[in-house]
Symmetry: D2
Subunit: 369 residues, 4 copies
Amino acid sequence: MTEVQAALADPVGTAAVPDTMRGAVLFGPDDIRVVERAVPLPGPGEVLVKVAMCGTCGTDLKIFGGHFPQTPPFGEFIPGHEWTGTVVALGDTVDEFRIGDKVCIEAHAGCGRCDNCLVGRYTACLNYANPAKGHRATGLTTNGGFAEYAVHNVKALYRMPESVSFEDAVLITTAGTGMYGLDVAGGFVAGENVVVFGPGPVGLMTVQLCKQMAARQVILIGTRPSRLELGRQLGADHVINAREVNPADAVLELTGGEGADLCVEASGGVDTPQQCVEATKRGGKMLFVAFYPDRVSLDLSAVVRKDISMYTSRGEGGNNVKRAVAMAAEGKLRGAELVTHRFGLDDIAEAFRVVRERDGDPMKVVLVP
Amino acid sequence: MTEVQAALADPVGTAAVPDTMRGAVLFGPDDIRVVERAVPLPGPGEVLVKVAMCGTCGTDLKIFGGHFPQTPPFGEFIPGHEWTGTVVALGDTVDEFRIGDKVCIEAHAGCGRCDNCLVGRYTACLNYANPAKGHRATGLTTNGGFAEYAVHNVKALYRMPESVSFEDAVLITTAGTGMYGLDVAGGFVAGENVVVFGPGPVGLMTVQLCKQMAARQVILIGTRPSRLELGRQLGADHVINAREVNPADAVLELTGGEGADLCVEASGGVDTPQQCVEATKRGGKMLFVAFYPDRVSLDLSAVVRKDISMYTSRGEGGNNVKRAVAMAAEGKLRGAELVTHRFGLDDIAEAFRVVRERDGDPMKVVLVP
Amino acid sequence: MTEVQAALADPVGTAAVPDTMRGAVLFGPDDIRVVERAVPLPGPGEVLVKVAMCGTCGTDLKIFGGHFPQTPPFGEFIPGHEWTGTVVALGDTVDEFRIGDKVCIEAHAGCGRCDNCLVGRYTACLNYANPAKGHRATGLTTNGGFAEYAVHNVKALYRMPESVSFEDAVLITTAGTGMYGLDVAGGFVAGENVVVFGPGPVGLMTVQLCKQMAARQVILIGTRPSRLELGRQLGADHVINAREVNPADAVLELTGGEGADLCVEASGGVDTPQQCVEATKRGGKMLFVAFYPDRVSLDLSAVVRKDISMYTSRGEGGNNVKRAVAMAAEGKLRGAELVTHRFGLDDIAEAFRVVRERDGDPMKVVLVP
Amino acid sequence: MTEVQAALADPVGTAAVPDTMRGAVLFGPDDIRVVERAVPLPGPGEVLVKVAMCGTCGTDLKIFGGHFPQTPPFGEFIPGHEWTGTVVALGDTVDEFRIGDKVCIEAHAGCGRCDNCLVGRYTACLNYANPAKGHRATGLTTNGGFAEYAVHNVKALYRMPESVSFEDAVLITTAGTGMYGLDVAGGFVAGENVVVFGPGPVGLMTVQLCKQMAARQVILIGTRPSRLELGRQLGADHVINAREVNPADAVLELTGGEGADLCVEASGGVDTPQQCVEATKRGGKMLFVAFYPDRVSLDLSAVVRKDISMYTSRGEGGNNVKRAVAMAAEGKLRGAELVTHRFGLDDIAEAFRVVRERDGDPMKVVLVP
């Protein structure tokens, strides 16, 4: 242990933090290796977290491919942006956390000084990927959670009660994306009909959020029966298999011909946004929380004619993970049920093979460093 | 039965509506008598409802006193603005309801043509108490529900599933006041700390609304132990007796010294608004859904210094009873537990004596015509 | 003059309204004829207006083609939805206007009783094209202003000062579309960079609105130099010819590489929405106030990645024509400069030939009945 | 000049910054002295500004009295929170400004890490007066502008064009308070009737903001004829002397009996908030941007009955000084006309005597270090 680390660790008498750790470093396209690295030091306003678990997501596949924009250089970069763990050292000025706290994260810590951060839109930070100015998107533009330890800014850390498991915690970050989207779209879904397209992790957490915020009907649309069934268990009032029926027709039927007050597009399918247009009520809303493999073709005239507003969320902003943590603490958000596969850090390549090939119908695959 | 009424009633083969009914008419200050009156006819866009139950509230005491502004003249006026029942006849152009539908109400139907109605703020209708222009506040500016039958505009009527009892339905109107207030205040309480001052019907329904919309801690403050206990049963996480501890101190303690994100003032006590100021977080919100017997004295500088926004709701607007009905239909709003006393229409004077003298600690006293 | 009309006209001693008038009736696709018709009678809440001028727009071309949805039947339908004139008779209950008032209009009067009207979103009325329930979209779903007289609901009528000309008044309706869009998008453009795509009437009125509401730079993008030049005269800080430079690049250059806070798409070109995506700042907004001849292809991932919200307006809702009238009354909105062609009612076919063929580069062609 | 400062200053070849400066230090209640102090060094994200001018305001009187909360200790504290000047050195990571830039300020730089800063409400920073965590309220919780040099965070600095004078720049900060208040209250005043109570600097800047954002009538209410006259020159459509007529009556008369859409209370008089209540339209808004010498007594029932929302602003937040700078750059905000008195730094005691005793009817008294 170095002196600096000893100093960091001492004040609260915690177990010593080692100088080095094992981390999964991206050395090139599809070349990720678990190697020994120095444990990072938390700067002012930062903490060091012993990572308990780190989720994988589709974005990681793009990152591993080696062509994701704005990452740290090959040979240095440790991906992983959905992690949770325990605070083991505090940087200068930090009193928001104590050593030993269980925490979950938002990926994005904004610079805090650009026009967007100033008004609270830090996922749209104008200094994105500029760590010198304070921006940090863990596992994306700075090192992340596929390692034994990770550093993060207190801006983007949330204390959890002991009762929330790490599996749940990984999914709280995921829920934050849905929650921020709902926030941007007004946040007031009580009594409304909500459709969620795409029963992946974001979609399934959004189903729960809407139902727990007293939405009237939550209608989940997908193509895989197992995922739809899981959605039903997690609270969806209706599930619709888009392979069997026209989703928009089904929504119209369930809503007395009016359409949904809100359609959440979490599938990333290029045809789904247009289905949203058709399934949304006049004066209603659409929310996009996915990325698409190609351009999307829309009947934009219909959007205009129906007075629909369209919102987006590219991550868990607006301090919404805090809201999700509070819900999880009361047992209102179930994340662990989405964790289908667990791997050790050394098996990271195998883990991503499973993700890529959808081997065993994985929902959320996590790594345990 | 008149021909007009027969025509109205015939199309769907329901039981005939009589020509006359019994209703409680206000003949002067504190002079209410149950007399025989013509059953009112629904005009275009209106329906006739057989009243199943009508709640009483503090405003009714003022109305009975005879000095409430903008009511119909003595000798004609039938009060009662929290009623529920079954549709028995449809006015011209009505296809939103069918005869036999169970319905609950908003009291206010706006004119639909003033600046405020046009933008959806119909409880602030600029043609308030102008029935010629289409405004109708049932039991306040037009005849209401202390009678066997009442007419109401479809704008302010909500169909309920059979599973919702009339007792629950009376309180849905009450919940609508809280829900509209929450709506005006942003509507997004998930994960937030909310304080409700005043465990009366509005307060207790608001406790449920907030908890069911995933608020973090809902803290209820009052002075009567029985009401606080009921609040706890209905979902309040903490109850505070303001006779025993300083409410603001208690809230600060429960919120780590920060104060509540939202304080809802539903007590009508002149000292409570200042307690809200002290209990509210910097950048937080205050919502007033009560009326006060006198002017209220506030540390307005503190409100400014703390960047607090203050919202109000004078009734169940913004189509929010629709939201509340959806919640009640799922069992998320319990109203019947608040109904402590039932009287027949003939006992209306006795019912109001109970309300006025708080005889038997009444919460919600209802009349069954 | 009929007795009814005499009664209507008498109270204020105005000149008598005749029984019949000349109006342009659509008898079939591309078959519009000016014929003699009964002067319509204003119902409750309505007024009769002597039409001074009625603008034409692209939608009228579709209507004349005979396949526009939800219009009155051939042989009855008088189009025209941008008209202005003088009140000559008042329907029952109307005291908002006096005979002799100069008025301009919103096209849409909502039903006032559906979910959307109740919350102020009447251009998304769920009873659209259902006059029995009170909906009226003049010249679209009911008879409009290509006639000597027209009836309209007071909900959608706005009194103008004498100082505002009828030419300006026609364009106030147009401005209302832009203003409602800005309203839906937040309404707070002061100090912001705004781009307007499409220097047609909606675009040019929106340029003025934004500049008069203290936008920082208003950048107008189009392809016709004469229109761009007019835009500059009406207040655009910069005009960009999309035939000469890449619009998004030009916007990025004018905004220090950040992009615009708000892009207003008023061109209706299928490629322009994607240009908006590229020209909009992270965390910014896009507003669509046009209709498109085909599906629109968008890089929706970029919209999500940039945290952009997208709003729409399909007409002049939200009581925004009232705002525009106030601005016009102070000389802050110039409409008359957009009126390039005037025709008498008998020349309606010729007027629409000019519109269709863009003969003489028409901006706003008006008919004077 | 020290080496550090030389290093800071060198890169852009500007004139050397001296090691020491003259600053007005508060040594105790009413004991302010101009003394020699070290020129402060800008930290990361900060710049050093050569102060050209610093305004005085009522808060400074309280500060000089020695009992203002959360200031630096006596003997160290340099007040002054409305200053402007020229950038002379850049702290680490700063590329938002160049040496030589003319700048004006917001007083508050939030910590950027608390719940409120994260969502853009930095004037309500939960780490207020905690410089270690990054909060800085210049001249309030850290040293300010009654000195030759001052340091400030780039978060709260705004570049001005050369065309804006320093006198105007001092008032841009003042305008920021009004603009943030308007922002919080919705920001969309176009076509609305606005009343401003209190023709002090905040009130007079707010008059201009509203008029330049296309408000319909801006009605200014005060008691001093000279200030009302200045308000008229700056754009108020009507001025009302509250000594001569009842302000609420006057507003009702000017608004056809309806009241104002928005009342801005900038007077700080304890009776004025209630006048706002009476002067505000049903469904309207009230905005408080003042502090009060005592508790304020309100007819809160009337606020509720009228469905009025109440907003506050305790400073220039929400990045709104940026909006005001853009308006000033176009000549839409006139500040210099409010500067009635100029003093050198040595005359600071005399300057505050003038402010305190209102000697010569001062509007904005500035110090030129």
